[in-house]
Homo-oligomer: 362 residues x 2
Amino acid sequence: MNINGKHYRTIWTAPNGRGAEIIDQARLPHEIVIAPLDTLEDAAIAIETMQVRGAPCIGATAAYGMFLGIAEDPSDAGLERAQTRLAKTRPTAVNLAWAIDEITKAVAALPEEERAVAALARAEEICDEDVEISRAMGEHGLKLIEAIAAKKSGPVNILTHCNAGWLATVDLGTATAPIYLAHEKGIEIHVWVDETRPRNQGASLTAFELGAHGVPHTIIVDNAGGHLMQHGKVDLCIVGTDRTTRAGDVGNKIGTYLKALAAHDNNVPFYVALPNTTIDWSIRDGVKEIPIEERGSQEVTQMTGRLPGGDVVTVDIAAAGSPAANYAFDVTPARLVTGLITDRGVAEASEEGLLKLFPERR
Amino acid sequence: MNINGKHYRTIWTAPNGRGAEIIDQARLPHEIVIAPLDTLEDAAIAIETMQVRGAPCIGATAAYGMFLGIAEDPSDAGLERAQTRLAKTRPTAVNLAWAIDEITKAVAALPEEERAVAALARAEEICDEDVEISRAMGEHGLKLIEAIAAKKSGPVNILTHCNAGWLATVDLGTATAPIYLAHEKGIEIHVWVDETRPRNQGASLTAFELGAHGVPHTIIVDNAGGHLMQHGKVDLCIVGTDRTTRAGDVGNKIGTYLKALAAHDNNVPFYVALPNTTIDWSIRDGVKEIPIEERGSQEVTQMTGRLPGGDVVTVDIAAAGSPAANYAFDVTPARLVTGLITDRGVAEASEEGLLKLFPERR
């Protein structure tokens, strides 16, 4: 999408063709910095330090990392070195392992001198494919927004949580794809952006990307959504997901469940946008079967921001020594989800609903 | 309650008897500062700048402010000057008007030379009465905690939102009164403290006061409570309220409604502690009839904390220019409230339930 009128993806091939460039998301929203990935190590560090984040964006970066590793050493040993280095950057990211595997398949049978070119081609293809998946989700979700727009005057008010935006993918995003397509089509929309504590991905990333692209939006604290829904100020919720069970239970950023409860209590449609790769067909009961990561407590007790002079600093916001717990995700039961916006269409959040779109999983 | 082993109230008569002293709550949790209130103006500024906050604590400070104003000028004109100055500090605070009125009633008929002494006596009495109200709520709520403790091993896990602690009253608090009494009685408890964005009163004040008194607790982001309840980690919620309707609808800090929804969805008892003065007998439907204050957006987009060196600074946490909205309160419908812990006992959250305890309101 656009930043100050210029179109960007989150990652792309460098002009010299010998590496990649990314938007350094760890510096957002305080600074917009393009960072070069010139080596395998650059790519690995970019993933580790969350200069890139979001499963699809991590996958794309790993693909470029594989290309860079192969360019450095196209032998089988070099290939293995790249696989090993990248695999340990964020071990739980499904797309990471998938992208490493895709590049490996694309080059394994080739002579060493052809491997780098083939790896780069496949990395670029992976990026293009990801945009197509986002576009497909966007088209399906757009119909939901159009249906609401047809029935009301004034903007369609959409609430979202965390960042399931273009910054988490290669372009367009997951939950934001329908929003960007609606905006492109001239439908009047306004997005309520949940701040999304503790990492503030809503206030830092979603609000940044919507603002930079020109989509009307308002940051709210995570506490506010229920009040807005009680007063008819939300027409539709769309969130992303890290993992969806076969039965339609949705694992997503902590706090998603609370918004789904409020939507249900106020008859506000609650949709989840997901590329089909995030469906875990092996489990059904999300509350029981999706393990919830606990992260460091300093994400709760500290906050990073800009001083009036522009310096970016991290401050302690709680009393010294106050203990804190940091559960990163929660599970929204399928009964609270109106529908799952997938790249194949919108499914009812149930095993039967998903199997209608994915009959090969029966 | 205690800070580092020493007992404090939020406000008390200065040792020289000519003014009051307060804990400067605007400096918490970063610094513990005792501030003198030597003049009417000191008291008014303390309320305006939120050095004191919480309805009962504001009421007590206004009472001392009236005493200080009368000590400066005990004439009827002086009395009126004090009334006018204090009334405009926080116009919506019910206890503020009540306290001004109480002191006025106590001195109006007296000769000028007796007024200051009488005003101080009534201010001290108002403080003592407030502690007794808290203690009564505490005793009634304690029974609920004892009942849970009797049925389980390990600590009773209580979730609370915002600060309805002793810092919001003169001592003991409202929602925290049962917690402190349970702790005093040796019942093992653990408190989940909602951070409570945007003003962070949970992380800054509730966590501070529980920690300073020695009550085990853990700060969580406002997003986390639903997940904890899904996994059986919350036995009981107790929150405060700014205004309760005749029908038991509860206006409280934004986000309370979301926790009540989660409690209801997981069969966790959800109690609201309230001095009977906060019941608004003139309204029934809280969602329709309780006006919700909108505050400045910088409370959402900025955060105050300590730098590693100890300096306290305010930083911008969102992208420059990102719009934000700041709804301060929400309304929890009575249907989601298990009971109202009042100073007269625990009522069912309904008109009938409240009228049983307050038959004079029939």
